[in-house]
């Protein structure tokens, strides 16, 4: 039997913990560049730093081979204006992308300037980025010379919403498309990146979670000189000494939700995304920003259908959506006709909803694969869904289950399953560490890349910024002397880390997660007021004071989860501190306050920053577009950039 209870029944005892238990034992690693988080950004950072000839250590909570949101795959290499088919220049496209309040112009400029080079390097490593097997000859967007497959996405503008010009005559003709997004075969990318790390001599520490950053003399706000970690299989304590450290972990993916019994982690983020990287930076004194902005959870939460398994979502790849009687439903489908738009406007959604109630459209809706030309159908089903994170397994199981894309229409769960509750929100986007043009944080020795930065973008952004941060951190490490870590700081962290394994009763990690999630649902959700924020903060502080000291963990895995939950609690507090500080509503931040209802008053048109100074929260601010002229700044900081890597 392969279940735990099956084993117990057959063997008469539960299985023993399969790994050696090394609680409190120390392993010390000395490195030039330390990368924490081995997802897309982290792997690229490690590769890029190792190419500079430095000693690099990569710390990954899971196994680098498939970890991170981009671990299982990637179908779109987005915003790659330097590709030869593009009709926009990298600087122009970056400027267009950055024409959104509270974005990250630094990350965007790096993405637009360098992600094509990054893609070509991926190809050198063995990644498939072109239709070299001629499987999709004749598909719209396929270029016969380069064999690149252009995606409809961002055909006219950088938006998921339709271009307002959409229904005008001659909208989005082939000769005028931006061609800034390429379809790629990304299910192979992550194993290739791990292999390249190992080939370059990067020391990869899998199943190790970072728990804290070490600062010079243990002082908050001091130069970062290393980190501590915990092996989640053995419980071993890891001490990393480094000259430069790159944080490439991610945000807290499930802060408002805890529904594991109904596959609560069946969303776009795994539970490993617990915000612990952000909290490490925060406790060390790094400045964060955009922490008050949160998004709605629009996708599966365990109470809804798995994302992509229904046509309503698979349709986001050029598949027409029809009602139960075959009538076309008028929302965008990320196709050529709508220039890649994939989200209906609220007006269109309301119209369809009304149409359903009046009988104009009959549920359920379907993704009409059979109506598509064969090559387009294949491009959607095999290439896009087959190569995207977490969708490959879906198409495999549908194929095995008898679904025939030439004959069958896939059911859509849009509308049928209802909307997400307004109390289900997502901190996974937007909030993060403040960076400068070197992707350095506000702390010396500490860099950030990918989703760890404020206002991140997508896979190619993570790759390009990781590669960039690796380069910059390596340059810093080359010019800095040996670092000295504080033993006192290590001892304090050890005491904190191992506290839960010294108990066997109290509360377990799941309860802490559920408790934090409920506080966020009550006090930091649809109804936002000073009073509710303060009540939320009070409730979190009470939980921290009374419940966290009773957390127990029975093995190293549960200890990791416990530490993640403690991070999530801290993350929740930061969100409330930031929310209290912004005394105004903001539409781009999806931050509506009842006590300050006017959206985006000019005096609040700015980033709020937060950091800890002597353990007290300090609020600051930065103007919109504080990064200056993107083209000029990029060029001033990258005079030595040599483009696509050549050599070993």
């Amino acid at each position: 039997m392969t279940t735990w209870h099956g084993y117990l029944k057959d063997e008469g005892r539960p299985p023993s913990w399969p790994y050696p238990i090394l609680f409190e034992q120390e392993q010390e690693i000395d490195t030039d560049v330390l990368v924490i988080g081995g997802g897309i950004a982290g792997c690229w950072a490690a590769i890029s730093a190792a190419r500079q000839g430095l000693r690099v250590a990569l710390v990954e909570k899971s196994d680098t081979v498939r970890s991170g949101s981009g671990g299982p795959g990637c179908d779109h290499w987005c915003d790659v204006p330097a590709n030869p088919l593009s009709r926009v220049t990298p600087d122009d496209w970056a400027k267009h992308m950055a024409d959104r309040p509270y974005c990250n112009g630094i990350g965007i400029q790096i993405q637009c300037r360098e992600n094509y080079d990054t893609l070509l390097e991926l190809e050198q490593m063995g990644g498939k980025i072109r239709d070299t097997d001629d499987e999709y000859v004749g598909a719209e967007g396929r270029d016969n010379k380069t064999k690149f497959m252009v995606s409809p996405r961002y055909g006219t503008i950088h938006s998921y919403l339709p271009d307002p010009r959409m229904n005008e005559p001659n909208f989005n003709p082939p000769e005028k498309r931006n061609n800034v997004v390429l379809r790629v075969w990304g299910s192979g990318f992550k194993p290739i990146l791990k292999k390249e790390c190992e080939r370059l001599g990067v020391k990869v520490y899998d199943r190790v979670m970072g728990t804290s950053l070490l600062t010079e003399n243990g002082i908050q706000g001091g130069r970062v000189v290393g980190a501590t970690g915990l092996n989640s299989r053995t419980g071993e304590f890891m001490i990393f000494k480094s000259k430069a450290t790159i944080l490439s972990t991610a945000g807290a993916g499930s802060l408002w939700l805890m529904s594991m019994e109904l596959c609560g982690f069946s969303n776009m983020h795994s539970r490993a995304m617990a915000g612990d990287g952000t909290i490490m930076a925060w406790k060390a004194g790094a400045e964060l920003t955009r922490m008050e902005g949160t998004g709605m959870v629009m996708i599966a939460t365990g109470l809804k259908h798995k994302w992509y398994s229904g046509g309503g979502d698979a349709s986001y790849e050029n598949v027409p959506i029809v009602d139960a009687n075959g009538k076309r439903v008028p929302f965008p489908i990320q196709g050529w006709v709508d220039a890649g738009a994939m989200v209906p406007t609220p007006e269109v959604s309301a119209k369809v909803h009304e149409g359903i109630l009046k009988g104009e459209y009959e549920l359920p809706f379907y993704a009409d694969f059979p109506s598509m030309p064969e090559v387009e159908r294949k491009a959607t089903w095999n290439l896009m869904l087959g190569e995207e994170a977490t969708t490959r397994i879906i198409i495999d199981t549908f194929n095995q289950g008898g679904f025939d894309m030439a004959k069958d229409m896939l059911q859509s769960y849009k509308f049928l399953e209802g909307n997400s509750l307004p109390q289900w929100r997502d901190a996974g986007y937007g909030g993060g560490v403040l960076v400068d043009w070197n992707l350095k944080t506000s702390l010396d020795g500490l860099y950030a890349a990918g989703t760890q930065m404020f206002a991140p973008e997508d896979h190619s952004h993570a790759a390009a910024t990781g590669r960039y941060a690796g380069r910059k951190a390596a340059a810093y490490a080359k010019n800095i002397g040996e670092s000295k870590v504080s033993r006192d700081q290590i001892e304090k962290e050890k005491a904190r880390v191992y506290a839960p394994v010294k108990r066997s009763e109290g509360i377990e990690w799941k309860e802490l997660h559920a408790g934090v999630a409920r506080i966020m649902q009550y006090y930091v959700s649809e109804y936002r007021t000073e009073r509710l924020f303060k009540m939320g903060l009070g409730a979190l502080e009470k939980m921290e004071k009374e419940s966290v000291p009773t957390l127990y963990a029975l093995d190293p895995h549960k200890l990791m989860r416990s530490l993640e939950d403690i991070s999530m609690l801290e993350y929740a507090k930061i969100i409330i501190h930031a929310s209290l500080a912004r005394k105004a509503s903001s539409r781009p931040l999806m931050f509506q306050r009842i006590d300050y209802p006017t959206p985006d008053p000019p005096e609040w048109d700015k980033f709020l920053t937060l950091k800890l100074e002597k353990d007290k929260v300090k609020i600051g601010e930065k103007p919109q577009a504080f990064w200056g002229d993107m083209k000029e700044q990029y060029e001033a900081h990258n005079k030595d950039y040599t483009g696509v890597h050549k050599g070993k």
Binding site: D63, G71, R233, E261, L262, C263, F265, T390, F398, M409
Partner: protein, 98 residues
Amino acid sequence: MSQKELFAIPNVQTPNQPVLFNPDICTGCNECVEVCPIDVYIPHPEEGRPPIILHPEECWYCGSCANDCPCPGAIQFNWPLQSRGYWKNKKTGEIGQL
């Protein structure tokens, strides 16, 4: 009926068992144990046997274990009942489901 002792066992922690192993095909190589980003599995104490599903409720259904399994057919992905998708044959109107 087995005469073995009946244990007092808490309810299974989740209604979902993310995968089904075929013990005739699985060689117990533990590739899935290594690629799983969140340690849903532990190796079976006895070498050569399929792993034990220890943390099914932490699975985020990324599919990496099944995708990377070197023995085709050893792991069958097992969508929870509440997540088994439907389709309809366009010509006949017949409904299919996973």
